[in-house]
Every structure is written in C-alpha cells, then in structure tokens.
Amino acid sequence: MATTADDITRTQARPDQVLLTIDGQEVAGERGDTILEAAQRVGIHIPTLCYEPRLQATAACRMCIVEVEGARKMLPSCSAAVADGMVVRTNTEKVRAMRHLYLELLLSDHNSFCTPPCRDACPTHIKIPQFLEYIAHKDYKNGVRKLREDLPFPAVIGRVCPRPCEGPCRRQLVEHPITICQLHRFMADQTIDEEQEGELLLPVEPKPDSAKRIAIVGGGPAGLAAAFYARLEGHAVKIFEALPKPGGMLRYGIPSYRLPRDLLDKEINVLWRMGVEIQVNSRLGVDYQLEDLFDEGFDTVFLALGAFNSNDMGIPGEDAEGVVTAVDFLGDLELNGEVHVGNNVTVIGGGFTAMDACRTSVRKGAKEVTCLYRRSRKEMPAHHTEVDEAEEEGVRLELLCAPVRVITDPANKVTGIEMLRMELGEPDASGRRRPVPIEGSEFVVECDQIIAAIGQYPKLDGTTEEQGVKRTKWRTIAVDDWTFQTADPRVFAGGDAVLGAQTAIQAVAQGKKAAWSMDAYLRGADMAEVGQSLAELKAQPFFKALTSRTDLDPRVARMAEVPPVFIDMTTDVTRPSPPADMPKREPEDRRANFKQIELGFSEEEAVRGAELCLDCYCPASGKCDLQRYGIEYEVFKNRFHGGEAHDYPADFRHDFIMREPNRCINCGRCVRVCRTEVGSSCYDSMGRGYDSIVSTADNLPLQLVGCVSCGKCAETCPTGSIETNPRLLGSYDLDESRCMFCGECVEVCPYDALEQSDFFELAGYNRTTMARESLYVREPRRVDPLRETVTDLVPHVRDAALGRGWTWEPIKDDPIALDEPEGGA
C-alpha cells in the first residue's frame, strides 16, 4: 500500500509524544516511555524475564535487548527511553541469537525440571507425581480420580503396561526407578472392589446429557477409553464388540496369569455404571454395516478394531497341520476355555505375544517350549521381565535364527522347523541392528507345534475405502493426524487399527484423544480448523500450547494436551537400571496354573515407594516465562550442559512461601517487590560471581527476616522458584498467656483479618478473659507444633504425615480439593 499524505498525518505524534520506528512500524511513544512500553502498547512483544511494570527496571536478564540504529551496543528495552526518530529492531537474527545464548546460559544453571520425565514418556501423559502423592497420603480414592484424568483402567494397565514411564525416572540416580506402574495397580486394587457397588471414582462429574450418540466399534483398550472420556463429556455411548466379551486384546491376547479376568470385568463394569452400553457378539460387516449405525441414530462412529490379523511367516509349509498363529492360539483358549497344545512347541517371535504364547504353552502342559527369535536378547521387543520369567518357567530361547521352512511328515503334520543362523549387522530404521543371514548355517528344531507370533495387523472387515475408511500402506486405517477423523467426517478411528499392533497404553492414549476430538466435532467445531490449530501448535511446538491463547478453542487447547515440555535440563538421565519389582510367585508355583504372577505390594511398600518420588516437576510449568522463552527460542540442545550447575537445597522452612533456589534466575523481581511494595526487604542478592543468588540474609528462614507472608514475591516470580503453599490453616490461634496487646498483628495484617475492639485500650484489665473479645480471631483450630521443628522440616511428604499436605498443583485447577473431608463437604 502506497503511503499517502493521510497516513503520514495519522501517525504524527502529539507535541508531547515522540515518534519512533519499531520493527518498521511507526509508533508514537509517550515521552519518558521505555522502548519496551512503547512496543507493548502497539502489540509488539519483546521478551523479558526481569521486567515488571510496577517495579523499577534493572535490565538484569538481558532478554529485552533490542537493536537501535546508531547505538554502539544492544540496548535493554526495559530501561532505554524512547527518543524522537529512533529506529528500533526487536527481532533481528542477531538479537535472537543473543537471546538464545542467554537462555542457554540461564538454563545451564537451572537445575530443575519443567514436566516430569516420566509423564513425558507416558503415551497418555499420566500425572504421575501427583497420583504418587495421593498414594503417599494413602488417599487412594482421590488418587484413582487423578489417575483417571488420563487413564481409565489403572488396575488393568498396571498389569500389562511395558512401563515406558520408568525408563527416564530420575530416582534411578539414587537407587532404582519408582515402580510407577505397579503403584497405580496397587492403588486401583485398593478401591476397585468398593467401587463396584459404591461411589464411582471419576475425575469429574459427567457433563449433562448432550443428546448426541457415539458408536464405538471394538471393545478393546482404545474403544473402552474412548467410551470413558466420551461419556464424561455427556454423550451417549454404545460399544459394539464382535467377541462374546469386551476387552479386546486385553482379554483375548493377554493370558490371565498376567491379567486376571475378574479385574478386567470390574474395570469394564465401571463403564457400565457410567451408562455406557456394550453390545457383544456383534461383528461389523457381519451383524451390521457401518451405515446401519448412522441409520440407528448415532452421530459419530469410532473404529477401534484392533489388530487381530497375524502376519504370515512367508515360508513353505506354513499351512501344515500344527502351525497356528499366537493370536488364534491365545484367543481360542479364552473363547473355548481350552486349546490344543503340542508336546514340543516352538514359538516364533520375540514380542509380548510370543512370550504369552510360550508361557501359556508351558501352563497347558507342553513338555518343551522353544522360543526362536532372529535378533539377540537385547533387541527383543518384550519387556525384559517377561523374558526372564519365561526362562524361569522353563522356556528355552534360541536367538539369532530365522525360520526357513516348516518340515512336515507325509500327513502334512509338523515335525520340525528349519532355521537359519543370523548375525547382527547395521542398525535399521528402528535403531535395532538388522539381522543378516549366515550362509549355510541351516539347522532343524524338532517340534510338533509351531506358534507364529511375528506381528499383527488390523482386521478391517466391514469397512471399505468407499465409505471413507482409507487404508495406509501398512494396512491400517488412515486418519487425520490431529483429529483422528477418517475421510468420512463422522467416522473416527484409533488404537491398533490405526497404529498397527502396539501397546495397550498407546491405545488408551488414542482413545482418550479421539474422544475429545469427537466431542469437539459433536459440539460443532470446525474440524478442519481444529486440525489446523493442532498442527500449528505442533509446528511451533510447545509455545502456544503453554501460553494462554484466548483465541484458541478450549476444546482444541485440551486436545493439544500438555505436551512434553521437558526442556533438556542440566541433569543427565542415564540408562535405566532394573526396577525393584513386586514380589512374585515362584516359578514352580506358576508352571501349571494361570494364577496371577505378581503378588502385589503391601500398603507399607507402596507408600514407601510413592514417597521416593523426587517430584521432578515444576508447579510453574506452563506459566513459567523461562520455559516459555526456552521453547520459543528452541533451546532444546544446550551447549553448556556438563558445566557446573548449582544444587541448592529447597527452602520449605516458611509455612506459606516455598523457595526452590535451583529455579532462580536472579532476576531480582522478588527483591524489588519486597523492598518497594511490601517494605520488608526480605531478599537480596548474595554471593559473588557465578555463585551469586537471590536469598535472604544469611539464608535465614523468611519468618526471621521480616516476611509478612504476603506472597508478593511468589506472585512476581517469573519461574517456579518461589511458590506459595495453599493456606490450609483455617485460622490462627492466639496464645493468650503471651499476648501483650501490642497490636502489631492488627497493624501488619495485609487483609485486615484482625481488628481492635472498642475495649482494646482497656483490655489490660483481664488478659485472659479479654483477649478473645478484644481481638476477633476466627474459630480457633488445632495448631501444629511445626513452629518448633520448622528447621528440620523436609519435603511435603512429611508435611502430609502431619496433616498439612501441600500439593504442588494450584487448587483451582484441581477438580477435587485436597483438603475437603472424604466424600465431599
């Protein structure tokens, strides 16, 4: 657009203003403005960590530096005043490079975590430290509620999950990872029986009826999870299950010694009780068609068909009698209660299913069971405990060999399998080393049954591409990456049908997100826009998801979830060491039966286990400016890691204000706010050079340096270094024997909670009787003797033992208030 005379007139400054250019935009700034203020006024965002409008600028963080034409150096915009004709550039490459470096420097000594690594690793991002804290409190009901915000089936998943969460657990730096998975299993076990008849432990009350209906095809983990979260949104949900019972692969793929069926039934029962209908023995494409569902009045369909087809081995003789797939083998056992097992069984494959087939064969009386796998033990996809347990039960492993052909007798019955030795070559795309055949190394393994467990793919019968259910080249359903929609906007899909055969927890994660997506669809969101927004969020990964974006549809915001925002912090997480496991049944006691192997924790063990959690997360995550800029400037790889980093002890000595100096960036906002607004001057910089840190004089507890517990320091802290503890005390009591009516408390109370009575001046007549009358103190309550022991007070777990639990999460975001008496007030 050409500049006209009018334009120029419009941008002319008033006489009391100055005219400057910021990022090419003409800005009229008030005289005395700083560049930062002038920029903010016209919506140009300049990052800063130490600036706050009400405080005097210090220009300590150097994030707000800008280029000013003619200036020798970069200027800190928070304290440089505007001048007429100034040309400012806030976002040049050099400015960004400098900010990036400064963020690297800040983060290199920011010895703390944003989000817990365990939670980042979990596909459905369970709020792990939070639920562990409930276990530590022995508050299992609220713990299950918290857990079910992300995982509806803690008892089931607690038994079958490969536990990706435990790998990065930092507790292993101390001894071994927290047994996270087994702990939520323990917690669910405590509540599951009571829940069958009693109160349902839901994260939130289901929303009122939305008058929308969702059909879910497939009652496996993805379908059940989708049903759970769709129901919470108020939609009517009906699950169509092809097999006689719901549960999918949980029931028909996982043997009962790993997952007792009664537990599965009980957790599915929760869905029943929430009002989810489940219709069994109804197979899509056989008993009904996709269109029938819409005809019946369902508004959306979620295809959670699972991966029930087995891959072929692709070798001669595969059709011989005695060759079965693991899926059929395990499914038949569950369906019929019995299955044919040979005397000498060979299982091909190294995954969970292969181990299940091996160990089921042992239990069903096979004399000899051999597991054949083409790579080495380290590459086996099954969890290492599974492999160990299989060996304990007598399964023989034959590694680094691949099947060549099935050997049969004239009656086409299996007598053995010819194998070829392999060796490991270069890593393939999955990072595992590729097996390479060794010429002429064939050998024969004799057997009378071969169970093939070399992967599955979805059985998509009853859906067609014409209906909009397109396929990918991996024979899975093609869906939108963000909304889980197929080409038919009414049809969504998730779980193994989309992922291929994966873990139950991944299926749950997909079900949860798909439910939220369907909810958005049913409530009339423009899904193209939703998908677009989510894609954008992902593209600029974490920044926008963390900032409160007012323009963002709240449904989209939720679907974005809290993504992993683990900025590569200073602590190096090493390879996992084996976790301390649950007590197990002895191998002799498990070879011949299907009894559950893991025996469960005692309460004492569980509470201790949960207490070990290091709480590697920050209550400020998501609202922390350092995190935000770290993400915005993509400081994911820090060149200064490995350098020295401080490890300050956290300061929980004050009742209300929690200090974690490892998160402090020395911005000095607390120093200034305390000095200028509160007048207490509790804080200042201490030490010199690299070791300088904002602290109290001699690092005394705040209550000894004139703190009035106003919390202004926590309010202004741009990171999570200063946080307030929710005030759990109902009131303070007055020690009448010591009060001398000085009135200090009345004077100092920032909330006018105390007042003088008319009799204040006369109160000296009779202290004992007058005290209560002259100082109106709210209802007295028990006062903990914490004051006396405050110096040796260590983390909140011990606090909790004293009934003063401190939850790191702000109460307002928590659907269930921690300090409410059980069962609601």
Partner: protein, 637 residues
C-alpha cells in the same frame, strides 16, 4: 565591583599564606635530608625497621634536627624497597636493611661516599648507579602527578603547602568563575584516568548543567585491578593533591559534599587521607568558608569492602548508599542522577591529582604533553616478569617498548619477552610485534587492549597465554556482581571452556564457542565489567592463536606451564648429580646416585616445579605435548 573582586582574591591568597603553620619544619633547599619511602611496598619489605634505625642512628650521632628525616610516599621503584634517598645529593639506596643504616649515614651524610652494596645495580651490567637521576627507571619518566610523592610527608599539610599546595585552589576561588575552570580543564584535554578515558571537562560540564541544589563529588579510589597500585600510591604519598583536585571540581560543578570511596584494604591510604582531611579542616581548607571565599565543601571517606565491581561508578554509588554494590543501567548517568539521586561527578584519584597541576601550569602546558586526543601523563604500574617493576609516569603516547625496556629495564636475565597485559582483567595481551604501539586511548583500543587504569603486566616465555587468559577471566568471573546473565553465567562458561583447554581436554569448536560467548558477553553485559571481561581471551585469540591451537589439537602447552600437559625430566648430560633436586622434591620422586644423572619418576611427580627452580645447572626440563612420549621413552633408555 572590580575592587571587591580584587579584595576578595587578595583575602583568599592571604588566608592561604596563613594556612601554612609558621613553626613547621620544612626542609630547605640544600639542607641534608634523609627520605625513606613509606609506601605499602616498602613497608612490606621492612621500612619500619629502617626508620627506627635511622632515628636511632641520627640521635646517636647527634644529628637529630640537623639532618631532616622525612617519611615520604611511594617512590615508585617498588621492586627495590625499602628505598632510602639522601638529598640534596640524590643518592639512592635500595633494599636497605636496618644494619646498613649506620654505614649509610657515616658514608653519605657525614662523608661523601656510598655504601656500594646498597646502591642500585643495573640488572644487565651489574654496575652500581649511585644517583637517582642516573637510574634509567627514573630518567625515562616524566613525573607530574607523582612529582611530590618522594618528597613530602603525606602526614604533613605544611609539606604540601610549602611545595605550592592549594595555590591552585586559592586561584580558582579567587577567580570565582566555575565555567572558566571547566573551560580550562576541557582545553587541557584531560581524560578520565580510571579506565574509560572520558573527557573530564565534559563530565564536569554535565554535572554543572544538571539541575539540583545538592550535588556530589566522588573520588573513585576503588582500585581493584590485579597488579595496579597507582591510585594507592598517590593517596598514600600525596593525599592533599587529590583533595585539592576534588575541591576544584566541587567548586566547578557547585557541589558542597564529597566522598572518597576507598577500599578498606588500603589502610595507609585511608589513614593518610583521614589525617589530611583533619589537617585541611584545621587550616580552613575544608569546611564552611574555605579560605574565606564563602565556598563550602567537605569530604567524607567511604570505605569499600573490596569488591572489584564497586569501581564501576553506579555500583560505587550503590555501595556508598549502603546497598549491595551492583551496577545499574545508564542512562541516567550519575551526572544527572547519582548518589542519593542527585547529580554526581565521579573521577578517579589520578584524574583529581592532575587538576592542581593543570590549574597552576595552564591547559596548554598539559596539552603539550602526549599525542592526539590523549594528553598529559599517565601512571602505569609496571609488574610481572620485568627487571625493574614499579610506578612509571610517562607522557601519553610513549611506546610500550620505552616503558618496558628503557624504563623497566627489559626482561629478567635469560628470559625473552612474550607479551604485555594492559589494563588489568579488562584489558588485553599484546605480543612483541605490538611493542611500538603508542600508549594512547585510541591506539590501544584498536590493538585490542586498553589503557584502563594503567596496569602493565609483563609476561615472558615461561608464561602460558591461555593460562593467563584463564587467570584474568577467573578474576572477573569471581568479581561479577551476578546481576546480568551474560556476565554471571557467560563468563563462567567461558572460564570452564578455558579450564578444559588448559587441562588438556579442549575440543574442536571451543575456539568458536569462546568467540561467540565473548562477542555476546561484550555486547550484552550491563556494565563495563562484563563488557570487557572477554578482552584477555579475545586478544589471546587474536595474537596467540597458535598457542591456543597447540593446547586443543596437540594437547601441548608451548610455554610448559599447564600442568596437565607437561612432563618433567632431567637432562642426563646437564645433570651433575648434586642431589639438590632429590632433596627438595616433596614427593621424593627423584632418584639417582651422587654425581650420577638423576631421574624423575613421572608417575609420582606432582609437577610442582621445585626441582627446576632449585637446579643450578638447568638440567631439569619440561616437555609438553607430543614430545612427552619421546621424552618419557628417552629417559628410560
């Protein structure tokens, strides 16, 4: 009108004349006088014992009162302390011990000879040089600020007055024209001697023009550079000159209160300054009505705790105000809003000490010295591996070669010049190719170093430049106030990188990392501490890149100083088997028969360097880098 002005001027001059105590003992020209240096360096080398001996000896010989005895300020030739000078003969005695005093008095006071063993000897020829005026160290200097340092007793205002002290002040007060004073200072082209080199006249003008009833003058005596001690010596030797300069500044800008911010670890400076204040007040030179002119001014001493950053003017102000000494952003500059938010003029000790001379001798005389935009003289503290260390005052524009080789006497015997570090931790190292650089603000900045406060640390071939850069960076990192990110954390990460390199763990990309960090620390730091902290590293990168490369890619320290990269061995041909090294070795890792070549057990050697220092035959050698292996095997063979 003009009569009153003249009257007033005459009254002021008369008051000044009255200020000199009539009974004061002042050495007369031509009378015999013993001057002993009472500077900190001579104090440390034992001047108290010498003083007592002199007093005793004079009394014994009945010379008390006949021969004047003055304990003066620093003579500047600190290397040679304790220093004793016989005037008017000009005989210079060095390294004087109490037991020498009797002979000295006998020979040089009572007689006409010398005590030869205490005369200064040329480091290269070994020839004694009896007279101060013949010593190259003094001969090459032009002493203006330090002129009275070796002459007067800092505890005596009368000494100062009788050497023309406070006449400049009286003239200024009599002239009664602040603008003329500022004009004169501007014309003299005097620039701040504290480091930044900002025009003093301009600075004063800003402070004069600043609005406000109350203004302050502050003397920055927070000298913190390692190896710099000129401000200390000026304060210790001639505190009144600084006070006079401050008074003139105060008059020029309209201030009535002044502070001297001096570190508490300069006890002599504080004590002498305090005494000077008391005396000046007694004589009506400080206070409400100075010399009857109606001008009021007084000075307080503010003792600092020794934080390097408090030499930065805003941090200094914060410190005086009782806050933690942390710099703040400028603008507003102290001239507009300084101490307690009032207009404040801050100058360095040496700057103030120049003022009386300029007022008395005129701007032209001052501007006649020096080159380009850098005029007058500058005091350098010459230290390090140089033959004659001490305070050197030369006109601006002298070459480094002149200072180091002509005045400083060059290298120690057997060593070769490698570099000179200028301007302290904020400065840089210049190699021998840069020796002809003129000491001038602009020219030095272009070379990568700075004039700074005037520290000159000479480095010879036994010093590792990487380690030297690490040392200076360690200093600035330790002294960072911790406020801004680049300085607090950036210098730390730079330091870690240098430590890694000197420990033999340098990586590819370290040099680039250092360059990036340096650039962004300089550009982004809040104050000059961070803004100059990378300079030593940058000049090392610029002039000694090969040495840095050798550390990183060859794991070799060419100077043989970085312990992780060196191996000690004994040259079998040079070793005489005297066993001295074996006796001195703290870990007993040297073995060998008497009169047979000795051998160092490398596995238990802690590289303390003792053996090399004690060896009289230069048989202990150091190998570094790839030659290490050869050395080790060669030794076994």
């Amino acid at each position: 009108m003009s009569t009153t002005t003249t009257d007033r001027a005459a009254a002021i001059q008369a008051a000044l004349a009255q200020a000199l105590h009539p009974d004061s003992v002042v050495a007369h020209e031509g009378a015999l006088e013993i001057r002993i240096c009472a500077g900190t360096a001579c104090h440390a080398s034992g001047r108290l014992g010498v003083r007592d001996a002199v007093v005793e000896e004079l009394a014994d010989r009945g010379l008390t009162g006949k021969v004047a005895f003055v304990e003066t300020g620093c003579h500047g030739f600190c290397e040679q302390g304790p220093i004793l000078v016989i005037q008017p003969k000009g005989i210079f005695y060095a390294h004087v011990r109490p037991q020498d005093v009797a002979a000295i008095i006998e020979q040089s006071i009572e007689g006409d000879g010398f005590v030869e063993k205490r005369l200064y000897r040329d480091p290269h020829t070994g020839e004694p040089v009896p007279y101060e005026r013949d010593i190259p160290f003094y001969k090459g200097q032009q002493r203006l600020v330090l002129a009275l340092n070796g002459k007067i007793d800092p505890y005596s205002i009368d000494d100062y007055l009788s050497h023309g002290g406070y006449t400049a002040l009286a003239d200024v007060l009599a002239g009664d024209d602040p603008d003329a004073v500022i004009e004169l200072i501007t014309e003299s082209k005097l620039r701040g001697r504290g480091g930044a080199g900002f025009s003093t006249g301009t600075k004063w003008r800003f402070a004069r023009q600043a609005k406000g009833e109350t203004k302050y003058v502050i003397c920055n005596a927070d000298e913190g550079d390692p190896g710099a001690f000129m401000d200390r010596s000026v304060l210790e030797g001639n505190p009144h000159a600084v006070l006079e300069g401050m008074m003139i500044a105060a008059f020029a800008i309209g201030a009535h209160e002044g502070y001297v911010y001096v570190r508490a670890e300069y006890p002599f400076a504080v004590a002498r300054l305090r005494a000077a204040l008391v005396q000046a007040r007694e004589r009506g030179l400080l206070g409400l009505d100075i010399l009857g002119s109606g001008f009021a001014f007084d000075v307080r001493i503010s003792e600092g705790a020794g934080a390097f950053v408090c030499g930065e003017e805003t941090a200094l102000i914060a410190s005086i105000e009782g806050k933690r000494g942390m710099p703040r952003t400028r603008p507003p500059f102290p001239a507009v809003s300084g101490l307690w938010g009032r207009p404040t003029n801050i100058n360095n000790v040496e700057t103030f000490a120049n003022i009386p001379w300029i007022m008395t001798h005129g701007a032209e005389a001052f501007a006649a010295m020096g080159v380009g935009e850098s005029r007058g003289t500058k005091i350098f503290s010459l230290t390090g591996k140089v033959a004659n260390g001490g305070l050197v005052e030369v006109p601006m524009g002298a070459t480094l070669r002149h200072i180091i080789f002509d005045i400083g006497g060059g290298m120690l015997p057997g060593r070769t010049f490698k570099a000179v570090q200028l301007g302290g931790p904020s400065g840089g190292c210049l190699p021998d190719a840069m020796l002809d650089v003129k000491v001038d603000y602009e020219e030095l900045s272009a070379s990568g170093a700075i004039v700074g406060s005037g520290g000159l640390v000479v480095v010879d071939n036994t010093n590792c430049m990487v380690d030297l850069a690490r040392f200076f960076l360690q200093f600035t990192q330790d002294e960072s106030c911790g406020k801004c990110v680049p300085c607090r954390l950036g210098t730390k990460r730079m330091l870690e990188t240098l430590e890694r390199i000197t420990a033999g763990n340098g990586r590819e990309g370290d040099i680039e990392l250092l360059e990036e960090l340096s650039g962004y620390i300089i550009e982004g730091s809040l104050c000059a501490l961070g803004g100059t902290a990378p300079n030593p590293v940058l000049t090392t990168l610029r002039y000694f890149r090969d040495e840095l490369d050798a550390h990183i890619s060859e794991r070799r320290c060419p100077a043989g100083q970085c312990k992780a990269l060196i191996t000690y061995y004994i040259d079998a041909e040079a070793c005489t088997g005297c066993m001295l090294c074996a006796k001195k070795c703290p870990t007993s890792c040297i073995s060998g028969e008497k009169k047979q070549p000795h051998v160092i057990d490398v596995s238990s050697c802690i590289k303390c360097d003792t053996c090399r220092q004690v060896c009289k035959f230069d048989a202990v050698k150091v190998w570094s880098g790839i030659e290490q292996a050869a050395a080790a095997t060669g030794q076994e063979a």
